[in-house]
């Protein structure tokens, strides 16, 4: 892999190293806690769901060098599972989310077993094709209700205690879910496992020759990424009380790629920034007559041509003053 994301893991550690960085993280957390008093909670929750989705996706592309073009399959399917278990079977939201995460993880296992047999471009095409299969299944299976989707999902009581129909309660729940997912990704990236993934991204044959069974590492990363994408999708279904076909389309897979690319592949915070920007942009565009896909497509093209480090990647590059290596 020669994507320009090499040093950012290392730089991510640096971000946590100095005390000003801790202050920044603290300030960020404080902002997240206070935000719903200024901005619409629903908007913020949407950002958080997509931020988690993008972080999960970034775990693969940014830290293992695998471009999945089918992550909507996990996000969308998990949304269906959460919506169905909560609405039709009357499960508690936490149980629905757990089921959603587990199902997404299992799907990730199946996808992974098939897709890790090829690399690079082929990997992207295979994941895209498999996710399209999931799209057709979602279109045809009765429990997804086709074009209508699963509507009117009750938010319910979290752990039987917290009433999620209260916007602030729902918001802090989503924030907690996001932070837990983010922390897990952070831990993974900085663990020995994450180091091996990085080694595979840099030079897979060398990792193989060092005795690592790289396929297993890639598979575990894939399953983890799919599960977290599922957690994000399930949460989104509870928040919006809706699971629909939109979330399993290839356009959705493309959107999460864009969020990550825009924010900075291989940076921990990049996908969060990217998700925030894309969601903001889309809600802004919705009130104009500009065609959303065209704008999104243009951002894609510009990012790929002249802004491959993404926002956070570029910032880190400038701040640390590291030249090309």
């Amino acid at each position: 892999m020669t994507m320009q994301t090499r040093d950012t893991v290392h730089e991510g550690i640096v971000m946590y190293g100095g005390s000003p960085k801790i202050l920044m993280v603290g300030a960020g957390l404080l902002l997240a806690v206070l935000a719903p008093y200024v901005l619409y909670p629903v908007f913020l929750m949407k950002v958080l769901c997509f931020a988690l989705f993008a972080c999960a996706f970034n775990l693969l592309i940014g830290f293992a060098g695998l471009l999945s073009f089918g992550h909507a399959a996990f996000f969308g399917s998990a949304a269906y599972i959460a919506a169905h278990t909560v609405k039709e079977w009357g499960w508690a939201p936490e149980a629905g989310l757990l089921a959603a995460t587990v199902v997404a993880g299992l799907m990730g296992l199946v996808f992974g077993l098939i897709a890790i047999r090829r690399q690079g471009i082929y990997f992207a095409m295979i994941t895209l094709a498999l996710s399209q299969m999931v799209f057709f299944l979602a279109l045809q299976l009765p429990f997804t209700h086709g074009e209508d989707g699963i509507q009117g999902v009750p938010r319910g009581l979290l752990f039987g205690l917290f009433d999620l129909s209260q916007p602030l309660t729902m918001y802090y729940t989503v924030l907690a879910i996001f932070l837990a997912g983010f922390a897990l990704i952070w831990r993974t990236v900085h663990s020995p496992f994450g180091q091996v993934l990085k080694a595979i991204r840099e030079n897979e044959p060398r990792a193989v020759s060092l005795g690592y069974r790289t396929d297993r590492y890639k598979l575990v990363a894939f399953v983890l990424s799919a599960s977290l994408a599922g957690l994000a999708g399930g949460t989104k279904a509870i928040v919006f009380q809706l699971a629909s076909l939109t979330d399993v389309t290839w356009q959705m897979s493309g959107e999460v790629v864009l969020m990550t690319l825009l924010g900075g592949m291989g940076t921990l915070f990049g996908p969060v920034v990217g998700a925030g920007l894309v969601v903001t942009l889309e809600s802004y565009l919705a009130s104009t007559s500009l065609p959303v896909p065209v704008v999104i497509g243009c951002i894609f093209v510009v990012c790929v041509l002249v802004f491959r480090r993404g926002i956070v990647g570029e910032l880190m590059h400038r701040l640390t003053g590291k030249g090309n290596r």
């Binding site: 320009q4 057709f136 497509g297 894609f300």
Partner: protein, 295 residues
Amino acid sequence: MSQLLGIPPQALFGQLLLGLINGSFYALLSLGLAVIFGMLNVVNMAHGALYMVGAFVAWLLLSYAGVGYWGALVLAPLVVGLIGLVLERTMLRRLYKVDHLYGLLLTFGLALIFEGAFRHWYGVSGQPYPIPDLLKGGTNLGFMYLPTYRGWVVAASLLVCLGTWFAIERTKLGAYLRAATENPTLVQAFGINVPVMVSLTYGFGVALAGLAGVLAAPIYQVSPLMGSNLIIVVFAVVVIGGMGSILGAIVTGLGLGLLEGLTKVVYPEASNIVVFVIMAVVLMMKPAGLFGRER
């Protein structure tokens, strides 16, 4: 499998013909993808969008310039090919030195732009495109009724596919192309302008998609979304066939189209996903694809 006996041959052959037509489009599109991939190492995600553009160019020519089907059959691929040349010269070219995934991402963005723009202008509903007079009607073959236009599509696609195969495998120009696919630097060191060849290859590959779009216009309606779902199936076809061989792309495309048609008869619910299932099975058994070489 006992259902198979209960199916009237008319329905069976009708679905197989539909499958063959889909297969013709798979073959044309995967051929273009394979040619582009071989030379540029780019998976052209914009291929489906450019197929749609080809169909739209035909429709626009007819609606606004009075140019009919036969004119469009020549002009639309030229227009799409020119668009391809511009895209390669201005954008794709900058990405050859970075990871190949960026080529995929760029062309994905381009696909969004093309589809979004046509959707913005023409909405999602399809525009009808008439079958040219010469190809109206049909023939009763005894066991089935063959609409002339559909027969023409299969024949024309096959002809173009085989012509492309011949040009690549049996001509001097094709030898340059094959050589440049293997070792562009050396071919350049023989005095051949490889960057121009690369541009022309991309232009030719997408022109094939444009041609497929014109052929498809009278069968499917001309709609902004006609390419996006088709192209994902074509990606699966390409993974199944492997990118190694031109003939492989053609054979796999036609074969999978037929198989899809057959599935529609036997178990209609699975017809949308059968190609993807086959892809998974092939990958488990032969990761490089049926005709592919590990690379």
